[in-house]
């Protein structure tokens, strides 16, 4: 029994040495968004917020919003919140009814880059 425990301990040590002690973290995938992905909202939002599955490096992450003509309607650089480092948000200009495309490209703290886009629709007045 003691030999088996020793063997297990040795295996763990070798595994740790081989694999290193680096902190693990994964790719930053989109977890949820506000407005929700593919949703239709009645009241035009004043900002877009996107939550990811990992902490982000805001300096190397982008969040842009385009209207149907392809013109940018985001108003200022995207930023994270200290209390919510998984979330990226960007303020919007005053927008009206229509379909808007949100494009994001983020760098998670473990240096993995992910990107994507989604749309939401405003069906009402600003």
């Amino acid at each position: 029994m003691a030999g088996r425990v020793k063997g297990l301990r040795a295996t763990l040590v070798v595994t740790a040495l081989l694999f290193g002690f680096s902190a693990a973290s994964g790719h930053a995938f989109l977890d949820r968004a506000d407005p929700r992905v593919g949703s239709t909202v009645k009241i035009a939002p004043t900002q877009v917020r996107v939550w990811f599955t990992e902490r982000l490096e805001p300096a190397f992450s982008t969040l842009e919003v385009f209207d149907e003509r392809g013109e940018r309607v985001d108003n200022g650089p995207p930023r994270t919140d200290e209390s919510s480092p998984h979330m990226l948000q960007v303020p919007l200009k005053s927008i009206g009814s229509g379909t808007y495309r949100v494009k994001w490209r983020v760098l998670s703290v473990d240096t993995h880059v992910t990107e994507g886009d989604f749309t939401f629709r405003v069906n009402g007045d600003p």
């Binding site: 694999f19 973290s25 995938f29 989109l30 992905v37 593919g38 993995h112 994507g116």
Partner: protein
């Protein structure tokens, strides 16, 4: 003027140096994440570990080989040497009940080494193309447990295509993706001599033919994570929103040496749950014809994303970013 250029160059170098090394992703093309499929090879180069893959199925008899149950446990380690070029080491353990000698036999199969080059990636069209060359080293496993005494060479072309570029009216089909392989399986020997002594005490020589095989397969999958993140958040609960239902088709067409037309293959419907550091997969193994078998088998897999588990050590290419 010259000092201005030097300042610009220095600033550029400083900026580049301050940018963290950007890591490529496992099975990513644009916003598409291709999971590692259980039955057919993946089209992408990655740092990943499949351990274990478990298969259990009843197989029909073939000539002197009796019908019986096969249990196979295998593992594969894939490592990127360069960002788009990697190596995969694979091994397996077999339990044959009964084996060709009508006894229960177990042991390791032959070792396999595969080099893969992902030569094309298109983010907008979620497309990946790669070529691979596999070598199954004959004689490295136990023959009584089914390992061949000869080598197998496996040149292959692999592809992956996500449907994220479909137009808006077909948006619900965007989570679909297909991966596939076309491969030659070429034995190093055309046949094996088998010596037996007959009832009269005479030595008999029997030659078992080893055909060249055209192997092909594909996987069709519908990614619920893709649906949630890029098409429409339909409010799926936590476990469900990481599921990827799929069907894999795996077909082998022997081409010559008396085996031409004797197709074997399986249809493998199943599901993958893709988590942060690993994925779990489970499939039914349904034979396509009686030559392949009459009973449904089962295949399961645990697959680790080494690039997420160890992003600064094992999970990055040995050379290059």
């Amino acid at each position: 003027m010259r000092s201005g250029r030097v300042a610009v160059a220095a600033a550029t170098l400083l900026t580049l140096a301050s940018v963290p090394a950007l890591a490529a992703a496992h099975g990513m093309a644009g916003q598409r994440f291709f999971p590692s499929t259980l039955t057919i090879d993946d089209p992408f180069v990655a740092d990943e570990l499949s351990l274990p893959t478990f298969l259990h199925i009843k197989q029909p008899g073939d000539g002197e080989v009796p019908a019986g149950q096969v249990t196979n446990i295998s593992g594969e380690l894939s490592k990127r040497i360069f960002p788009n070029f990697g190596i995969t080491l694979g091994g397996e353990w077999n339990l044959l009940d009964p084996a060709a000698n009508n006894r229960t036999e177990s042991g390791f199969g032959n070792l396999e080494v595969t080099l893969k080059y992902q030569f094309f990636t298109n983010a907008a069209h979620e497309t990946i193309l790669s070529v691979a060359f596999g070598w199954e080293a004959g004689g490295t496993g136990r023959q009584k447990a089914g390992a061949e005494s000869f080598d197998l060479f496996k040149p292959a072309l692999l592809f992956g295509k996500g449907m994220g570029d479909l137009p808006d009216p077909l948006a619900w089909l965007r989570p679909l993706a297909v991966t596939g392989i076309v491969e030659g399986v070429l034995p190093s020997r055309s046949g094996n001599k088998k010596f037996t002594v007959n009832d009269d005490g005479d030595l008999e020589v029997e030659i078992e033919k080893n055909p060249n095989v055209f192997h092909w397969g594909f996987a069709v999958m519908y990614s619920l994570p893709y649906l949630q993140a890029f098409v429409r958040d339909v409010g799926l609960p936590v476990i469900i929103n990481r599921l990827i239902p799929l069907v894999e088709i795996d077909i082998s067409n022997p081409l010559d040496r008396g085996f031409a037309g004797k197709t074997t293959g399986t249809v493998n419907p199943g599901i993958i749950w893709a988590g942060k550091y690993f994925q779990l997969g489970l499939e039914a193994v349904v034979p396509v014809n009686e030559r392949t078998g009459k009973n449904v088998g089962i295949r399961g897999q645990i697959h680790f994303f080494l690039d997420d588990l160890f992003p600064h050590t094992l999970g990055r290419p040995l050379f290059g970013r």
